[in-house]
């Protein structure tokens, strides 16, 4: 099932080249989604007979409260797989906003919520433009049978793309309903007042609810139109709900333990699945005997091509069954480079070789020059809820478009993409597949794909019953896609005044996000080149921006030291970008950088870094303490300033920034997948150490909340500067430069 298509792992090249003199920054509105693309999909090739699906046992499907908009999405939009990473506009106003007879207002979106707060943000956007209280809005997310395809929840695109689309629809809806209410009441629209979902004419105290107006036959045609994109939106200075603190709508259910995550879905007669995995990372199944599993009571076992799995009445029985099958399996394993060989291997297998510095002549003549290589390890997202899917095939003919042949509840950031994966794996029309994504237990870029959904569906097909497949933690560590490892070469030269003269940056294997230097350099270029990475890799929170910012900001520190300059002053002297300067100066001021860098204490150090990605700007100051006995780095204090434009929900933003900082501590200091003998050696939280309570520093977050620029997403960029700030602080404390993530001090 896991094809060893090493050569598939290519990208980068010319698109990432930045000529000298350019800002080297991409317009976020047209940024390519390089980090979103899974470079090596899991491939399934089932030997299917379409007729075999037709007669199956099964049960009904959860039908959402909202019937009307089902399947309202315009087909054929959104590109590959019929799913579409980017999505498209809602087909109609009615497909975006629904008024229930009971007074509920529902906004529908193809976005998902894995904890980042999109549900609340979209409720805010709708409430703001409809002029109703936040709590009046229900949000229906990510049910492909009901919602518009808003594209994948990735690339920090919900805030800059989906929020405006929802606001447009809500504002258009408000205008439409007010205009029609004016006709019904026989008054001028501007004589009407709006409050709490009621349209009121004060002189006669007559009022109509939105729902009463919306169900008017005369409006049907207008509600069937595509939402306009040029409606006037509520200006920031008049925001009542956007820009204010609002609690996550699902919070109460979560603290009560009532919220149903994908792994909490239970269907009548549901079985529990497990899939056979090879002990080595890449291996072909030579032979297997399913008999030991089939002898177990209630167990269904499937072999279909490379896919082998079981379904059983309990998780425990499924585990016993798959262990019995695993004992019979024979594998032909492939070699893989070990962790020690990895970075040489990536360099040796770089597509077209590693390009040379085009400024070599200038470097040779420069007053000072430096060259260094940085590396980052493969890491896993390790979301706390493992990948899970519940699949159910319809028995008999359909009674409603909401009950297609196959329904899958799963956690994915790309519901329409997963619908496409399922349709393709089972040779179904996309309309015959419905994917429902309950708010799930986090992803961080790790849940873009639908392999768990496909596997669950294959098991359910064989069992003729609904099947839940919940990956084990070991599968999470070995079978989910990884954040790619990187080898990054940087070389720069300084003129006689200590200013940057040339800059050259090459990323091998991990991608081009934030690769362009934001500093003013007459001659600068950066390149991203693919390689034959041995592990299946894909997206991760801010993906390559972390590796590229780690290399650039650490190297800026090396250059500052070479120039004999303070790291803050050196950056500011080479930086014109006003927004980046502003966050850097803000973080430094709040951290009291100047005092702390001078008043150095033994075994303590401070460092800083800044960067930008996806339209937002971030700077970080960090203080570390070195434990000389254990050779450990302890982060004591982090101060981050962040500019993502106008803030939508201040506390949710702080939560995201704090979370990014804490999550970023892991790959900075400890997280690393270890490869040896063709296998992942630390597929466990025991040996893959993510941040714990004891690792968490004091954190200060300052949001710039600029009102004069477009709002950018905020879930990713705050993670990209924590590692270089720590590395620079370690250098300040010890004089030792750490160029590999995770950063570890050598034994004394």
């Amino acid at each position: 099932m896991m094809k060893a298509k090493a050569s598939i792992n290519r990208r980068g090249g010319e698109g990432e080249t930045r000529r000298g003199g350019e800002a080297g920054l991409r317009n976020p509105a047209i940024a390519e989604i390089d980090y979103d693309e899974l470079l090596e999909p899991m491939r399934f090739s089932f030997a299917l007979d379409r007729r075999s699906f037709v007669q199956m046992l099964g049960a009904g499907v959860l039908v959402t409260a909202v019937g009307v908009p089902a399947l309202a999405q315009r087909r054929g939009r959104g590109g590959r797989g019929g799913g579409g990473f980017r999505g498209g506009p809602a087909a109609t106003l009615a497909a975006r906003i629904h008024f229930g007879d009971d007074g509920t207002i529902t906004v529908l979106s193809g976005k998902v919520d894995g904890g980042q707060g999109s549900r609340g943000e979209l409720a805010q956007a709708t409430a703001e433009e409809l002029r109703v209280p936040f709590d009046n809005i229900q949000v229906l997310l990510a049910d492909t049978g009901a919602v518009p395809n808003d594209g994948s929840s990735a690339g920090s695109r919900t805030t800059p793309s989906t929020v405006p689309a929802v606001r447009q629809a809500a504002a258009a809806m408000r205008q439409l309903l007010v205009d029609h209410a004016a006709k019904l009441l026989d008054v001028e629209p501007n004589a009407l007042e709006l409050s709490d979902g009621k349209i009121r004419y004060a002189p006669t105290n007559r009022s109509l609810t939105y729902a009463e107006v919306a169900k008017n036959e005369a409006l049907a045609e207008k509600l069937a139109q595509q939402p306009p994109s040029d409606v006037e939106l509520t200006p920031i200075e008049k925001w009542q709900i956007l820009g204010t603190e609002q609690k996550a709508p699902a919070g109460r259910d979560k603290v009560l333990g009532r919220h149903q995550y994908p792994s909490d879905i239970k269907r009548p007669g549901m079985l529990y699945g497990r899939v056979l995995r090879s002990p080595k990372y890449r291996a072909k199944l030579a032979s297997v005997d399913l008999a030991p599993a089939k002898e177990m009571e209630g167990v269904v076992a499937v072999e279909d091509g490379d896919f082998v799995g079981v379904a059983a009445p309990s998780s425990f029985a499924a585990e016993q069954a798959i262990e019995a099958v695993a004992k019979t399996a024979k594998w032909e394993a492939e070699e893989l480079p070990s962790s020690e060989e990895l970075y040489d291997y990536l360099r040796e297998h770089a597509d077209g070789g590693v390009p040379e510095n085009p400024f070599a002549d200038e470097v040779a003549k420069a007053a000072k020059s430096l060259r260094a290589t940085y590396t980052t390890a493969y890491v896993q997202h390790a979301p706390l809820e493992p990948r899970t899917a519940v699949a159910e095939w319809r028995a008999g003919p359909s009674s409603s478009p909401a009950v297609p042949q196959l329904t899958v509840w799963t956690a994915t950031q790309n519901p329409f993409g997963v619908r496409g994966e399922l349709a393709s794996a089972f040779r179904l029309d996309e309309d015959e597949v419905r994917v429902i994504v309950p708010d799930f237990g986090s992803a961080y870029g790790g849940k873009h794909t639908g392999e768990t959904a496909v596997e669950a569906a294959r098991l359910a097909q064989a069992a003729k019953k609904p099947v839940m497949l919940r990956w084990t933690r070991e599968e999470e560590f070995t079978r989910a896609y990884f954040r790619p490892a990187a080898v990054i070469d940087v070389e720069a030269s300084l003129d006689s005044n200590g200013r940057l003269a040339t800059w050259w940056h090459v990323n091998i294997n991990s991608g081009g996000s934030s690769i362009g230097s934001p500093y003013d350099v007459a001659n600068k270029q950066s390149r991203s080149v693919g390689s034959r990475g041995p592990l299946r890799h894909g997206s991760y929170r801010a993906l390559a921006s972390t590796a590229n910012s780690f290399a650039r900001e650490s190297f800026m520190d090396e250059l500052a030291a070479a120039a004999g300059a303070d790291p803050l002053e050196f950056r500011l002297a080479n930086l014109k970008d006003r927004r980046l300067r502003a966050v850097l100066e803000e973080a430094a001021k709040r951290f009291q950088w100047h005092q702390r860098v001078k008043n150095k204490e033994p075994n303590r150090g401070v460092g800083l870094a800044c960067s930008l990605d996806k339209g937002s700007y971030v700077a970080c100051c960090a203080e570390v303490e070195i434990d000389r006995v254990k050779n450990e780095i302890h982060v004591k204090h982090v101060c981050e300033a962040f500019d993502c434009g106008p803030v939508m929900n201040p506390d949710n933003l702080r939560n995201q920034v704090e979370g990014a900082i804490i999550m970023g501590l892991g790959p900075a200091l400890r997280e690393e997948m270890q490869l040896a003998d063709g296998a992942i050696k630390n597929a466990s939280f025991v040996r893959y150490r993510v941040p714990h309570f004891k690792d968490v520093p004091t954190i200060d977050v300052h949001a710039m909340n600029r009102q004069d620029v477009e709002a950018a997403g905020a879930g990713e960029t705050p993670i990209i500067v924590i590692a270089p700030a720590i590395g620079n602080a370690v250098f300040h404390a010890t004089g030792v430069r750490l160029r590999s993530m995770p950063m570890k001090l050598a034994k004394a």
């Binding site: 333990g257 425990f316 714990h692």
Partner: protein
């Protein structure tokens, strides 16, 4: 090889006839429909499955159901008084001490055991006690604040 295991869950006597080697977590979730405790790792590392057994925080993913025979089990479902939240639940909501919330029920159950043993824990004691649970979203500081404010509330007679 089935066995009948009898125990108390949230004050109610329950009896299940099942393979005694099954994890308590599976029995709670798959047999008794109590989904509040979560599967996170199956290796006693993340604490998402935390329930209280005879008052002690316990990794239910790695506890054979047979070992709770004749014991009392408390899960998140038993914490609120109907719709009236426990002070810890109120505090987690007030501090927004979660993002995805998958770790939340285990965090609250662990904090409950802590506050019963030490009604006024110091910040260091909170950090140390909570360290057996993982949060991948990075809401640790909020969780510590929530536990602290719940402790203050309990002391102030809100419970």
């Amino acid at each position: 090889m089935q066995r009948t295991i009898t125990f108390t869950v949230n004050g109610e006597p329950r009896s299940v006839t099942t393979d005694p080697a099954r994890p308590l977590l599976d029995v709670l979730r798959e047999d008794l429909g109590l989904i509040g405790a979560k599967f996170g790792c199956g290796e006693r590392q993340c604490g998402a499955c935390t329930v209280l057994v005879n008052g002690r925080p316990t990794f239910s993913c790695s506890t054979r159901v047979a070992t709770v025979n004749n014991r009392t089990v408390e899960t998140i479902e038993g914490l609120s008084d109907g719709e009236i939240l426990h002070p810890l639940q109120e505090a987690f909501l007030a501090e927004s001490a979660f993002q995805c919330g998958y770790c939340t029920t285990g965090m609250i159950m662990n904090a409950l055991a802590l506050l019963r043993e030490k009604p006024k824990p110091t910040p260091d004691e909170i950090r140390s006690a909570m360290d057996r649970n993982m949060c991948r979203c990075g809401t640790h500081l909020r969780i510590m604040r929530a536990v602290e404010s719940a402790a203050a509330g309990v002391e102030g007679g809100q419970q």
